[in-house]
C-alpha cells in the first residue's frame, strides 16, 4: 500500500506509536471489511464485513495502546471510540436513511463522550444539543419528506439508490489509502509536537474575576470580612498572580496581605471557552453569525421558491405525453397544440 519511510527519525516516531506493519495491515483489513460492509444486494456479507472492520479497528487501536501502554487512555475512551466508529460504520452502511441518521446520533453521543474525556464539557453538551437535538432532527424530517412512496417491486420499500453502494472498491481504496497516509503523517509528526500550555495556563481567566476569587476564598475560609482582592493602583487590575499563584488581599484602606492560591480555585471549561472565543477569536463569532444569518436567509429564499420542472424533466414528460398522444392516433407536437386549442 504505502512504502515505509526511510527516514530514521520519522520512522522512529511512527514506530514509537504504532508499528507500521500493524497500521497498514489494519488499514488493509479495514478496507476489506468496510468494502464488504457497504450496502449491497447480496445478503449476509455485510455483517461479516462489519466484523472484519471491527477486528481491524481493534487491531489498530490495541496496537496503538500496546505500544504506549504507559500513556494509554481512559477505558471510557475505548468504549466511546468503539461506539462512535461503529455508529459511523453503520451510518455509511445502513441501507435505510432513517437508521443511518439514528446511528449518526449514536456517533454524536459517543463523540460527545470523547469530548468529555477531553475535558471539553461545553463542547460535548453543545454537540448533543446542536447536532442530536437540532440538526439530526432536521435530517430526519427531510428523510421523511423525501422518501419515495414504496412501490411493489422495490426491496422492502427501499429506494434503488439506497440499496447498493456506488463504486465501493474505488471508494474504500481511496479512503483507506488516505487514512494510512494521514495516520502515517500524524504519527510521524506527533513526536515533534510539544504542548504549548501548562496546568495553570487555564487559570488566567480567574485573574480577571476577583469576585469569583473572593467567593472561593470565602468558601475556603481564607477571606476575612472586610477584605477584598486588592486592585493595582495604576491599572486597576486585581492583584492576582497566576504564575506565582498568590493573591493579594486588601482590607480597609491600605493594609494588604498575600494569600496562597486555593486548590479549588480553577477555571471552568465554559469560562475558558468563553474567554478564548471572545478574547482571542472574536472574528470567529462574527463570521459564524454571518454564516448563520446567510444560511437562514438562504433557507427562507429556497423554501419560498416555487419549484419549476426543469427542462430535461419537461422534455421527458413531454415525450411521454407525445407517446401517449401518438398512441391515440395524433402525430407530433402540432397535434399537441391542436389539442391545446381544443
Amino acid at each position: 500500500m504505502t512504502r515505509v519511510s526511510r527516514d530514521g527519525q520519522g520512522n522512529a516516531a511512527l514506530e514509537s506509536f504504532l508499528s507500521p506493519l500493524v497500521l497498514y495491515l489494519a488499514c488493509a483489513l479495514g478496507a476489506a471489511g468496510v468494502f464488504l460492509a457497504l450496502p449491497r444486494r447480496a445478503k449476509g456479507v455485510q455483517p461479516i464485513g462489519g466484523l472484519i472492520a471491527a477486528v481491524a479497528g481493534g487491531l489498530a487501536v490495541l496496537g496503538l495502546t500496546a505500544a504506549n501502554i504507559a500513556d494509554r487512555p481512559n477505558i471510557y475512551f475505548y468504549i466511546f471510540a468503539v461506539v462512535a466508529l461503529g455508529g459511523a460504520l453503520r451510518v455509511i452502511t445502513h441501507q435505510r436513511p432513517v437508521y443511518a441518521a439514528l446511528f449518526f446520533i449514536l456517533t454524536i453521543i459517543a463523540t460527545a463522550g470523547l469530548f468529555l474525556l477531553l475535558s471539553a464539557e461545553f463542547m460535548a453538551f453543545a454537540l448533543i444539543i446542536v447536532y442530536a437535538g437540532a440538526i439530526l432532527i432536521t435530517y430526519l424530517f427531510v428523510i421523511m419528506l423525501a422518501t419515495q412512496a414504496p412501490t411493489e417491486d422495490a426491496m422492502e420499500g427501499l429506494a434503488d439508490y439506497d440499496i447498493e453502494a456506488r463504486e465501493p472498491l474505488a471508494a474504500t481504496v481511496v479512503g483507506f489509502v488516505l487514512l494510512a497516509v494521514l495516520s502515517t503523517m500524524v504519527f510521524r509528526g506527533l513526536g515533534q509536537v510539544t504542548p504549548r500550555g501548562d496546568a495553570t495556563s487555564g487559570d488566567e481567566i480567574v485573574a480577571m474575576m476577583p469576585g469569583r476569587v473572593e467567593t472561593v476564598l470565602r468558601r475556603e475560609g481564607v477571606l476575612q470580612s472586610g477584605e477584598r482582592v486588592a486592585l493595582d493602583g495604576e491599572t486597576g487590575r486585581p492583584l492576582i498572580d497566576v504564575k506565582a499563584r498568590t493573591i493579594t488581599l486588601a482590607s480597609g484602606t491600605d493594609a494588604t496581605r498575600l494569600v496562597p492560591w486555593p486548590p479549588s480555585l480553577t477555571a471552568r471549561n465554559v469560562e475558558g471557552v468563553g474567554l478564548a472565543l471572545i478574547g482571542r477569536h472574536p472574528g470567529t463569532i462574527e463570521i459564524a453569525g454571518v454564516i448563520l444569518l446567510m444560511a437562514m436567509l438562504g433557507a427562507v429564499v429556497l423554501s419560498r421558491k416555487q419549484v419549476q420542472l426543469d427542462e430535461a424533466e419537461k422534455s421527458r414528460q413531454a415525450r411521454t405525453l407525445a407517446q401517449s398522444m401518438t398512441a391515440n392516433g395524433a402525430a407530433g407536437p402540432g397535434a399537441i397544440r391542436g389539442g391545446g386549442v381544443a
Binding site: 477505558i75 468529555l116 475535558s119 474504500t172 506527533l190 472565543l277
Partner: protein, 122 residues
C-alpha cells in the same frame, strides 16, 4: 490524564485540574478521528442518497471536531474548542441550506439519487 487506571472514577470527565496529556494519548484520539474521517469519506463516495451523503459530510466534520478538541486538550488551551464551535456553526448552516436544496431537488426529480444530477457533464 492520570497515569493510573481507575475504573471506579466517579466522573468520566478527566477535567478538574487538567494535567498535561501525553502525545501517545493524543495519538489515540487522532487515530479515531482519522478513521472516522475515512469512514465519512467512504460513505460520501459510495452512497447515492443525497441525505446520507450529507450525513457523511457531517461525519467528517465530527472527525475534524475530535481532532481539534484533542489538540485543544493537548495544548491546554481553548482554541481548538473555539474552532469546533465554528465547525458546528458551519455544519448547522450547511444542514439548513443543503437540506433545503435537497428538498427542492427531490421535488424536481422525485428522487434523492445524486446520479440524477449530471448537468455539468461535459
Amino acid at each position: 490524564m492520570s497515569a493510573t487506571f481507575d475504573p471506579l472514577m466517579v466522573t468520566i470527565a478527566q477535567a478538574g485540574a487538567p494535567a498535561p496529556m501525553a502525545g501517545a494519548t493524543l495519538a489515540h484520539y487522532l487515530f479515531v478521528s482519522a478513521v472516522m474521517f475515512a469512514l465519512g469519506l467512504i460513505g460520501f463516495l459510495t452512497r447515492r442518497n443525497l441525505i446520507i451523503m450529507f450525513l457523511c459530510t457531517e461525519l467528517m466534520f465530527q472527525a475534524a471536531g475530535i481532532a481539534l478538541i484533542a489538540f485543544s486538550r493537548f495544548h491546554l488551551n481553548h482554541t481548538g474548542e473555539t474552532f469546533v464551535i465554528f465547525v458546528l456553526t458551519v455544519a448547522a448552516a450547511e444542514a439548513a441550506m443543503a437540506l433545503a436544496l435537497v428538498v427542492l431537488l427531490f421535488r424536481r426529480r422525485e428522487s434523492l439519487d445524486a446520479e440524477q444530477w449530471d448537468e455539468m457533464s461535459g
